[in-house]
């Protein structure tokens, strides 16, 4: 397991360094991961069609599903990358729609409800390719390792996952809400 994830991470980095598109990166990684974990022949996905990332949004698959195949975030657990992700999250105006995880124009990112899936590669896919109800496609604006860093930061927004208390500790203003008697 640890060997495989190290290998996967190294593979991702290699692809990122060579400037491969996300679609191709994921297609090859998914294929490779599948090949490692099953005896069945992997589907031929070397050349994913333009715009298709190969990342599934849903767990429901017709027929007998094979094992779950996920691409891990090469920057998961990397504090430096996470801080960079936080900066990008603000600078790319993610914060203007999702705020500090509670949402606004866009859905919350701090809860466990994920419309298009909350796995790292699914979040990556949402950022890179956008979503139909208004999530812009940032794939032309950011290179893949920047998106992965944002994913790393987004994954810290859920206090249930990180043990943090949410996004409000900075000012303490959250203690002064509406006073309406209940």
């Amino acid at each position: 397991m640890s060997l495989r994830s190290r290998n996967t991470r190294a593979t991702v980095r290699r692809f990122l360094r060579t400037g491969a598109t996300l679609a191709a990166t994921l297609a090859v990684l998914v294929t490779g991961a599948a090949a490692c974990s099953t005896d069945r022949p992997a589907p031929r996905r070397e050349s994913a069609p333009a715009g298709a990332s190969g990342v599934r949004q849903v767990p429901l698959r017709p027929g007998i599903p094979g094992p779950e195949r996920r691409v891990v975030n090469p920057f998961a657990g990397d504090d430096h990358a996470l801080n960079e992700g936080r900066r990008l999250y603000t600078w790319m105006n993610c914060i203007g729609c999702h705020f500090e995880g509670g949402g606004g124009i866009g859905p919350p990112l701090m809860d466990d409800q994920w419309i298009h899936g909350g796995a790292a590669d699914q979040i990556f896919d949402s950022i890179a390719n956008g979503r139909a109800n208004g999530m812009p496609a940032y794939g032309d604006k950011l290179v893949p390792d920047e998106i992965w860093r944002i994913v790393a930061y987004v994954e810290t927004l859920n206090p249930d996952r990180t043990g943090a208390s949410g996004g409000d500790e900075k000012t303490g203003s959250e203690n002064r809400q509406g006073g309406g008697g209940r």
């Binding site: 600078w91 919350p108 002064r176």
Partner: protein
């Protein structure tokens, strides 16, 4: 059955409701008097209709002849509903099919504030910047025109106003670095007659030889350029998403412009003209007659788009043609609408950001300690960004001589942050936490005397009073609350005479009309949402107080009182 007449003529007939503000003066007053303070307690639900859309319903229904027209939030379906009993309720539904991605540039839920009727057509805006005219009888499209671009952050949410042969519409997107405009379309075919930008050179703002602003600071060439850092007027806001009024005698339209962008004021030194302002224009040419800024160099998102009620009032012993404006910055303005002079401006909510308005210059007297900027949290700024009052329109009764104002009681802490303009994404630069103002309640409903310049009575609401108001010759005033009550008050005393609990919180605009059976009806859309109700309609997470531009911090308990919905309710006496 479509009655003949222009919108102005039909507005005189209390059997109809042909434009969201009832009439060009925007009084939202109906001469109907079947429902009175004596009998309103027996009001009952006559019929209802689900819009099938679950989002913030801010629209006013229209009534033309024996048909009611309702436009929904995105996807902006237009329903024609039969008002005659015993026949199918739904005559037709028109689906304009706006671009789904437009939802990503709607700052404050995917709302729509209503349609307008004229010349056999029902005209409304779609979230993806189309103005659409639909044949009022057949439900077939008459014309449509795409006026803006979601990739620039533009959207459209306002209710059009028809003046003579022009359809007046404006854009939204003050939180997206949109350059605001008002556009006049030809009623016959939807082609553009003129467009007036709110920022930029005089040529674009349609400022020319006719322009005679009252105050010195508003005179000079190209102030829409020179009051900004270089080129920032191009992405500076001043959108036109609120209300328009029209005086046929002076032949002038009046409308306000939104906040400047970004919110962080240190990023845009200068007065930032003509944002947070009001224009008086000729409706045929668009040429500006005068302009005035409510909040020059706005620091707090004090959008200047609220309703303008056109009245003739005796001020200091002299009859004046005035424009009454309950403004977002917390002051109730009375302006001379011929000249743009501020005759009075008095706080109608608790204010800490300004101590008053200097009538010599027209400028608010700002409080130094409340000035915001980079890296410092300024506390106890009142009112908060939704203002003393947001878009929710007031009603004026010529009988009581009072203005009925649904509004907010909110304060905030604010910190300026960096803002990076990327077209089609938010451009704000502020971290905000809102909370209830003094007293702990978040909303108020105030009866205001604009001559005596004071509140006559005031009642409090748990949540912001985010619905419009309507007042009648029966001296009954109606409005709805976010905690699901539709209420009738005695217009003279404010006494609660009747209330009805609906399915979802109310942020719509009530109307009243005479049905084909001769009875008086009152109609309101429920369906909580909008900026204030985004925590429910958008299922936001209350643990992040900064969510929805900091409004979530003040609305954490709203989900305990209401869920999302979307239903038309029509009431009548038994």
């Amino acid at each position: 059955v479509i009655p003949p007449g222009t919108p102005a003529e039909l507005a005189e007939d209390d059997g109809q409701w042909v434009m969201a503000p009832k009439n060009h003066a925007s009084t939202r007053y109906s001469g109907l008097s079947e429902i009175t303070t004596e009998n309103v307690a027996s009001l009952r639900l006559a019929w209802s209709f689900s819009t099938g859309v679950v989002a913030g319903h801010e629209a006013a229904p229209l009534v033309v002849g024996d048909t009611m027209y309702v436009v929904t939030p995105y996807p902006n379906i237009l329903y024609a509903l039969n008002l005659r009993d015993g026949e199918p309720r739904l005559r037709w539904a028109f689906e304009p099919k706006p671009e789904r991605a437009a939802q990503g540039v709607a700052c404050c839920d995917v709302v729509n504030r209503g349609a307008a009727y004229a010349d056999g057509k029902v005209i409304f805006n779609t979230l993806d910047n189309q103005t659409v005219a639909v044949d009022a009888v057949t439900g077939q499209e008459a014309w449509r025109n795409k006026l803006g671009d979601i990739n620039l952050g533009e959207s459209m949410t306002m209710a059009p106003l028809v003046v003579k042969d022009k359809v007046l519409v404006g854009n939204s997107g003050g939180e997206f670095g949109v350059r605001g405009w008002l556009t006049a379309l030809n009623l016959s075919d939807g082609s553009i007659a003129w467009r007036a930008y709110s920022t930029g050179p005089d040529e674009d703002v349609l400022i020319g030889a006719d322009f005679q602003p009252f105050y010195e600071q508003d005179r000079g060439p190209d102030l829409g350029v020179h009051t900004w850092p270089p080129d920032m007027w191009r992405i500076g806001g001043g959108t036109v998403w609120g209300w328009i009024s029209y005086d046929s005698e002076l032949d002038l339209i009046y409308y306000g412009t939104s906040n400047p962008g970004p919110w962080n004021p240190e990023l845009r030194p200068g007065d930032n003209k003509w944002t947070a302002a009001i224009f008086a224009r000729n409706p045929d040419t668009g040429q500006a007659r005068w302009a005035y800024q409510w909040s020059p160099h706005d620091q707090y998102d004090y959008d200047g788009i609220n309703e303008n009620i056109l009245l003739d009032l005796e001020i200091d012993g002299r009859m004046r043609k005035v424009l009454v404006r309950p403004e977002r910055n917390g002051f109730m303005y009375v302006l001379d609408r011929e000249t743009g002079e501020v005759l009075s401006a008095d706080p109608f909510v608790y204010t800490t950001a300004a101590t008053g308005v200097d009538l010599k210059t027209g400028r608010p007297i700002e409080v130094e300690e409340k000035k915001t900027g980079f890296g410092r949290v300024v506390r106890e700024i009142c009112p908060a960004p939704p203002g003393g009052k947001d878009w929710q329109p007031s009603a004026w009764s010529p009988r009581t001589r009072l203005l009925y104002v649904p509004h907010n009681n909110l304060c905030m802490d604010m910190e300026g942050t960096e803002a990076n303009y990327i077209a089609g994404t938010p451009y704000v630069g502020a971290r905000v936490h809102m909370y209830a103002g003094p007293g702990g309640h978040r909303g108020e409903f105030t009866a205001w005397d604009p001559v005596a310049r004071k509140a006559v009575w005031k009642i409090t609401e748990r949540f912001p009073a985010w619905s419009g108001a309507v007042v009648t010759a029966g001296d009954v005033v109606f409005y709805g609350t976010m905690d699901r009550w539709f209420k009738a008050l005695d217009a003279r005393t404010g006494e609660l005479l009747w209330q009805f609990e609906v399915d979802s919180g109310i942020i719509g605009q009530p109307i009243t009309y005479r049905g084909p059976d001769g009875k008086q009806y009152v109609a309101i859309l429920s369906g909580v949402g909008g900026w204030s109700g985004a925590i429910v309609s958008g299922q936001l997470d209350a643990r992040d107080g900064t969510a929805a531009l900091g409004f979530v911090n003040a609305m954490k308990d709203l989900p305990d009182y209401t869920r999302a919905g979307g239903t038309l309710h029509v009431f009548a006496l038994p």
